[in-house]
Symmetry: C2
Subunit: 438 residues, 2 copies
Amino acid sequence: MSRQRIGVGLCGLGTVGSGVVTLLDRHARELSSRCGLALELVHIGARRDNPNCDTSRYKVSRDIFDVVSDPDVDILVELIGGTTTAFDLVQGALNAGKHVVTANKALMAARGNELAALAEENGVALRYEAAVAGGIPIIKTLRESLAANAIQSVAGIINGTGNFILTEMAKAGRDFEDVLAEAQALGYAEADPTFDIDGTDAAHKLVILATLAFGIPLNSEGPFTEGINSVAPEDLRFAAELGYVIKHLGIATRAGERVDLRVHPTLIPVDKQIATVDGVLNTVMIRSDGVGELVLVGPGAGALPTASAVCGDVADVAQHMARGIGDSLPVLGRPVSELQELATVPRGEVESEWYLRMVVADEPGAMADITRLLGDQDISIESLIQRPPETGSTQVSVVIVTDRAPGAAIERATSAIAALDATDGSITMLRIESFEAA
Amino acid sequence: MSRQRIGVGLCGLGTVGSGVVTLLDRHARELSSRCGLALELVHIGARRDNPNCDTSRYKVSRDIFDVVSDPDVDILVELIGGTTTAFDLVQGALNAGKHVVTANKALMAARGNELAALAEENGVALRYEAAVAGGIPIIKTLRESLAANAIQSVAGIINGTGNFILTEMAKAGRDFEDVLAEAQALGYAEADPTFDIDGTDAAHKLVILATLAFGIPLNSEGPFTEGINSVAPEDLRFAAELGYVIKHLGIATRAGERVDLRVHPTLIPVDKQIATVDGVLNTVMIRSDGVGELVLVGPGAGALPTASAVCGDVADVAQHMARGIGDSLPVLGRPVSELQELATVPRGEVESEWYLRMVVADEPGAMADITRLLGDQDISIESLIQRPPETGSTQVSVVIVTDRAPGAAIERATSAIAALDATDGSITMLRIESFEAA
């Protein structure tokens, strides 16, 4: 080959972008040695400077599309986020025959099918290790290492902000708003943290994991999604009392020819490994027929961990380029034409154990009514906590842990319970996952 | 390309070999779909049948070298073990322009440098994910995902048999020989378990990890190696009392321009994640400048987990072949010519906290002598347990946990203590690793 150098263009100079500049600079010699060719950052596109990132040694454009059209750019790194401009940018790069590395989970979840097809058509790479679980190599593990496995489930803590908030609430008994403000001050949460809190960010990531695990097209509408704002400090206390921690999980399960994708706060037995993953750490647990259970734990966010994933992708692509090929394997694990839709298990059919918390009038017969309404739906009670009323109060807190029951039965039972005069109509319902060996 | 099929040849039909037959057969359609070409097992070489593996559908040769010379074989899977015949086999395959996938850590540790160079010369792949930590994708993670990281240390439980034995000894208070016999009956330990017990197997794996982590040539003489047979049931009990578990760890650390490679039983604080990895599970913890701390946990042995790693490599190689290239990156992470020797930190300089157990005459002045001899070497005592003598005995068990001290100082102090009339001359010495954040 006559090529002397591989040029990297970087669009977006936020936290992760500045981390990419740092790692590419720090490990330039090493990366070039691995590739057998000089790997260089040649062009940065950013609408504004980042005071934490010295770009004086680089060509910088305010119009990020100038980076796409730069003939020196072979690999485009997209870190601007969102699904509109980012889509145009990535589409433009792929059409121009450039390889793309992105950390953009929203873009991959929403439009990854068309972008993957476009990459295949153009014989270029589209990589996105940094889109899920930061520094944890989960994309590579699913796409490559487990190629000869049938994946049964992928479950994990895949939003560091949410895990930080739940961990702090549990450890310090603090309120949601209080911890959220701290997370924002520490830079863990975005100025607009909606997607972290309502589960949208975790759902985007779960969609990507499910595609790689099950060979289905990306479907951003797929997951059932519940945010962490339904968890109150008293739920964390009751859970601890019952031997559980509450984590915000993404869970993708294959059941025969159907799949079940869910993102929700989940009670997990305190002795499970996943229960010990605190703060901004992420973890992903994969179950498959070959390996059995594989667990990965690492930082799910932050400048350098996420930049490490971006740069790992850049190194892979550069090493492929140095050997004259676009990529060694399809963007989504299988060629887009081989992806096959699988039906979603209807919500009401999905079985879990359940944690139910309600406020009940401290009067004769109330508990009998509640337990009878659960029994009417064939739901067994595994354990029950009734807190004596505070002095002067006429209400008690009741927490019920049920045996496994389908969502529809729980829905019917809790609707009936909420209609009782003895309750105030609101019931906190959280799923429990024990992750027993299959 | 005119190629219609990629042929796999398998040499060795033991536990892992039969797992490879199972997974390649079970996931044939899936693997072919990923590659875009049919991937088929075309030839098995095995000196004898495996009653647990039906090979009636395959061409089988008793002379394994017939598989190398079969023109239908594109990828040779070497699972015969050892460093002599296996070397000839792999060398022959690479020279014949065939790709090789191996699970052979002894071969890679002892002769991997020349084999990697040979693969580079011939433009073919040599893959060995299954050689370390079974189903855990640690080779790919170090070689690819962390390409843009400076690795500070790699530490882990990388011998499932040893971990099974220590776990059972700790949980049930059983003797080493007793648990070893069970491990052999369960098929976890080889008929000759020497390499599992004396640390040789873990040392081979650590050598491979260190090469990928630090860019040094494979050096099977490198690690300081101690087996698990130095751990007595009372050490496990005393450790638990002090808040530790004992695990057999491989630890590779980079210190400036030097490296430190060690395999030995290690006391770990009970609340560290690595301390919870029991039985035949393996775990590897990597510290690097980009990601920070990454932990992988999974089955370190067994037919299907190890076969999964073999087949993941086969799938990678097949996908490269389908695109007309040998491999996208160098066998050992860097081209062999770019690997650079680093000096080993002399044993006596390596600092640890230490666990010392000895039997001491229950007489005045004995403890004063022992603590004075430690003090003479500037070794501080962190905690001390002295067990009252059993009725009728004139001896006590003494366990001392020291603060960090260099190996040479501990060596001098324990030699002096062993020379005291009050001791019986034998001192159990185990290192403690707290894995504090750097």
